[in-house]
């Protein structure tokens, strides 16, 4: 709708706040009647990142929740930003998705303009400036990791725009469970297999100890040589197989006695009713 408060001026692009009042009134009416308005789908996640000897490993679980219901059992939370930079997203699923797509486009344009491969700090800076501009209303927490000409870097960005640069990071609802594994077993300059196992264990801790995380573990190994995206690296939450058979073979129980009592029935009345089969 053309904004009625400014019929003389052309419409502006970007976010439009015309319907916020109407939405607030609608939500107020709904809550009076006892219903609740639909919530945005969150990812309810465990995401983790670690810097090892040759580069960066990012890990994530694959469950997306809609309040208390699992909306997607196998979603991808590790998003592509540049050939050497990947980003894990937690928080509101749509916000994380659109934010990372915008960052990917911006970084591509920027690297075309400068003529150099992108740096991880570029992505982090643009992300935090955008998230701060919207004051936390864009609810996406992100872990950005990659290997560029200056080395391997790992940053985490919070929805309000703050960021951290650390050798190991976790975010999402299962962050507490995952960070405990990291705090216990992280050492600087680990080997590839040991680091993969560590991230796998951290995400598995999030999957088992947090209700919002579940299904599989995805890993993304980024080194100077290239990127290895291991989707479905581990599936710890599979349904278990039954160990034994609980059916009894016929003849397991011995028959001791057998009595047969016939029931004699006499015909009392006989009548014929015609059915209408037309």
């Amino acid at each position: 709708m053309l904004s009625n408060s400014r019929p003389c001026q052309p419409q502006s692009a970007g976010f439009s706040f015309e319907n916020t009042r109407r939405n607030a009134v609608l939500e107020g009416n709904l809550s009076e009647l006892g219903y609740s308005s639909p919530k945005a789908r969150k990812t309810g996640t465990t995401i983790a990142g670690i810097v090892f000897k040759d580069g960066v490993i990012l890990g994530a679980d694959t469950r997306a929740t809609d309040d208390m219901v699992v909306a997607d059992k196998n979603c991808m939370k590790i998003h592509y930003i540049a050939p050497n930079i990947y980003c894990c997203g937690a928080g509101v699923a749509a916000d994380a998705e659109v934010t990372t797509q915008m960052m990917s486009s911006n970084v591509e344009l920027h690297s075309l303009s400068t003529g150099r491969p992108p740096l991880v700090v570029t992505v982090t800076r643009q992300l935090k400036q955008m998230l701060f501009r919207y004051q936390g209303h864009i609810g996406s927490s992100l872990i950005v990791g990659g290997v560029d000409v200056t080395g391997a870097h790992l940053y985490s960005v919070y929805p309000h725009g703050s960021y951290d640069k650390l050798p190991f990071l976790t975010m999402g609802s299962g962050a507490g469970a995952a960070i405990s594994i990291f705090e216990d077993r992280y050492r600087p300059n680990m080997e590839l297999e040991e680091a993969k196992k560590l991230v796998r264990d951290a995400i598995t801790a999030g999957i088992f100890c947090d209700l919002g995380s579940g299904s599989n573990v995805d890993l993304c190994v980024i080194t100077q040589a290239g990127v290895q995206y291991l989707r479905g690296y581990d599936q710890p939450a599979q349904k278990g197989k039954r160990e034994g058979q609980y059916k009894y073979k016929p003849g397991t129980t011995a028959v001791l006695t057998k009595t047969v009592t016939p029931l004699p029935l006499d015909v009392v009345d006989e009548s014929i009713q015609l059915m209408d089969t037309q």
């Binding site: 692009a13 009042r21 004051q135």
Partner: protein, 178 residues
């Protein structure tokens, strides 16, 4: 002292007002950690123009509130912004430009922002009639918007909006006849 050139008096007034509201805006957080956009009182939160009932754009054919087109009305609705981000988003580009020009003036001297603003003014005039969509290619290139993608490019693209402005009114407004 920061100089700016405005197209006409109303634009100068709105620039002054947004500059003053920017001065009083803190963008801080309150005790519970929620972001508070304006903490310096009601004045900085008021919208730019205070409408008068019976004369504003909400008035329909019979001189009363046109509820179908413009929704429910209340004085509070029309005076205060409906969302925390509404004012800050409206003035965002303006404030960014001010900050950048001020930096440029401090670094390179007064000529630098003056020249740039002259170029912006010239590039802004390259457009179609106000009710038609213009690409603003020259202005975008000058500002550097051709090398970045933000929500202005993804959401609510005016080129694809379903409503067109009333041509006569928009041209009159543009020429300052309204």
């Amino acid at each position: 002292m920061y100089l700016t050139y405005a197209k006409n008096k109303s634009e100068a007034e709105s620039l002054n007002r947004s500059w003053r509201s920017k001065q009083s805006e803190t963008g801080g957080k309150d005790g519970t950690g929620r972001a508070v956009a304006n903490t310096r009182g009601l004045r900085s939160q008021l919208k730019d123009s205070v409408p008068v009932t019976g004369m504003g754009p909400q008035v329909g054919a019979y001189g009363v509130q046109d509820t179908l087109r413009s929704g429910f009305s209340s004085v509070k609705n029309e005076l205060l912004p409906s969302h925390v981000l509404e004012l800050s988003e409206k003035n965002f580009q303006l404030n960014q430009d001010k900050m950048n020009f001020s930096n440029l003036r401090n670094i390179q001297g007064l000529h630098a922002p003056l020249k740039l603003q002259m170029e912006y003014r010239a590039a802004r005039q390259i457009q179609r009639l106000p009710f038609l969509q213009s690409s603003h290619l020259a202005l975008d290139t000058l500002k550097g918007n051709d090398e970045s993608i933000s929500f202005e490019d993804i959401l609510n693209d005016p080129a694809q909006s379903e409503m067109m402005g009333e041509p006569h009114i928009m041209v009159e407004y543009k020429l300052g006849m309204m």
